[in-house]
Point group: C2
Chain length 289, copies 2
């Protein structure tokens, strides 16, 4: 049985509407490292069983978030726990493995943002939708290079506010708009840059609802559409189809009307043919269209 403290943290991941997929994946590994050290157990077998169950629960807390399941799988595959290990040593190995992956994930985001900054260059206006820590880090790298931003509010919970607030702190000239104004403003951008919750094997991108609209508007106006995310987010062809999470209708803030169903799908798939380039920590990929 997983102690209450860890179940509370799983619930924290499930209910989080602020952090992006990479941040939550790292938070999942932090929880796992702590559990590796602290999970009560008499034997390595018992401890490993509990820890494995926790890893499954963590991955299932956010089924749309590929980095979480990818990093947890890599953790499990690479943890190299032997049945004859002593429990204290096993705890150290498993926790250290999680911490290495946290560091790799962090470095991948930083390297990915560096590739974005090289691609975009100085004096550009970028438009984005929703909140992505990779996009945020790209902005940080470009903030003294004449970057200008166009940020959508991103309903229902308006993650765009968090981005606009940070851009303001960095003094990056920013335009903040409703999602509905995307087509009006996209032509003022040199490029669109979005993060991703995951990328399917064919290059289609799973990201916040509204991303496909922005991609359509960008294509219509001839504005390049870039997706920046570390390789942990790319799904294998063998992965099961992504789950499109639906959140509470109450987030839209309307009353309950008979015969009216409020829908709150968080994610949508933007097809690869609407994407100009994918940027990960290794560089820029383009798929000939």
């Amino acid at each position: 049985m997983i102690p209450t403290e860890f179940n509370r943290k799983i619930a924290e991941i499930r209910d989080d509407r602020v952090r992006g997929a990479s941040e939550l994946a790292r938070f999942g590994l932090v929880i796992l490292a702590q559990a590796a050290r602290e999970l009560p157990a008499a034997t390595v077998g018992e401890w490993w069983e509990g820890l494995s169950a926790l890893a499954v629960d963590l991955a299932e807390a956010r089924p749309s978030m590929t980095p979480l399941s990818h990093l947890l799988r890599r953790w499990r595959e690479g943890a190299a726990i032997e049945a004859d290990m002593n429990l204290a040593a096993a705890r150290q190995v498993a926790a250290a493995r999680a911490e290495v992956l946290i560091e790799q994930s962090r470095r991948a985001v930083a390297d990915c943002a560096a590739r974005v900054a090289e691609l975009v260059g100085a004096g550009r206006t970028l438009m984005t939708h929703s909140f992505s820590s990779t996009v945020l880090e790209s902005c940080r790298l470009l903030k003294e290079a004449g970057l200008r931003m166009i940020v959508t509010e991103s309903r229902p919970l308006e993650e765009g506010r968090r981005l606009a607030e940070q851009l303001s702190v960095w003094k990056v000239p920013t335009v903040y708009i409703t999602d509905a104004q995307m087509a009006l403003f996209v032509a003022r951008a040199d490029a669109v840059l979005v993060g991703a919750d995951s990328v399917l094997a064919d290059g289609a991108v799973l990201n916040k609802a509204g991303t496909a609209l922005l991609a359509l508007a960008a294509r219509e106006r001839g504005v390049p559409f870039y997706v920046a995310c570390e390789s942990f987010k790319w799904r294998d062809a063998a992965d099961p189809p992504p789950v499109l999470e639906e959140m509470a209708p109450a987030e839209l803030g309307v009353p309950t009307w008979p015969d009216v169903t409020v829908r709150n799908l968080y994610f949508e798939v933007t097809p690869a043919r609407l994407i100009s380039a994918w940027i990960d920590e290794a560089g820029v990929r383009r798929i000939a269209g």
Copy 2:
């Protein structure tokens, strides 16, 4: 000088964010009819000068709203006031002219909705954006014919609420979504139906921001995109280019951040090539694309 009472009513039109262009145009004519009867004046010349100034102020209160300026122009052109008329008679003629136009406008909306209902037919799912009295009337005509609706909230002031509320009263099964979910839901509709604030001479449609996004998403999924509006809303090629009104940034409900500019453009132009058909009181027009 225009008495305070009428200036207050002009301000009511300027600040109205609920009523559509046709409704506001008729409200403008109601104000004009009242002013025709009540405006203090010693002579027909003085009275007509005051009334004409009021008509100009009314038209300028909402420069994006073509029916308002079109109906006021038709009123002025058709009022047939002669300098030698007696003042009491002139008041009657001018007020009656406004009332005839109110009735024509109302009938045009009803006839337009009847044409929409014929085109759409029974058992269909329609998707719309923003609030249009023509779309509402079309829904009323189809509500016992198995109509289903998909309604966007339409930020920032969420006119979609008003529509969803009425559809609920009529027991029309309705799905209510954020604007950002348009691309996710458009494929579930048999057609998109929107109203218009005005239609340019080439068929491009001026309507609430977000309309062009919905038109792009509809084209992508092969869903017909219909625009329903009475002929009063069609602009002549000689009309000046439409003004795209911008409303208060405060409507977005975010704090003031240094270096962040909040934009709140209400209207956008959806090009004619994204529109499958235009429906007015006379019937359905299609422009070969």
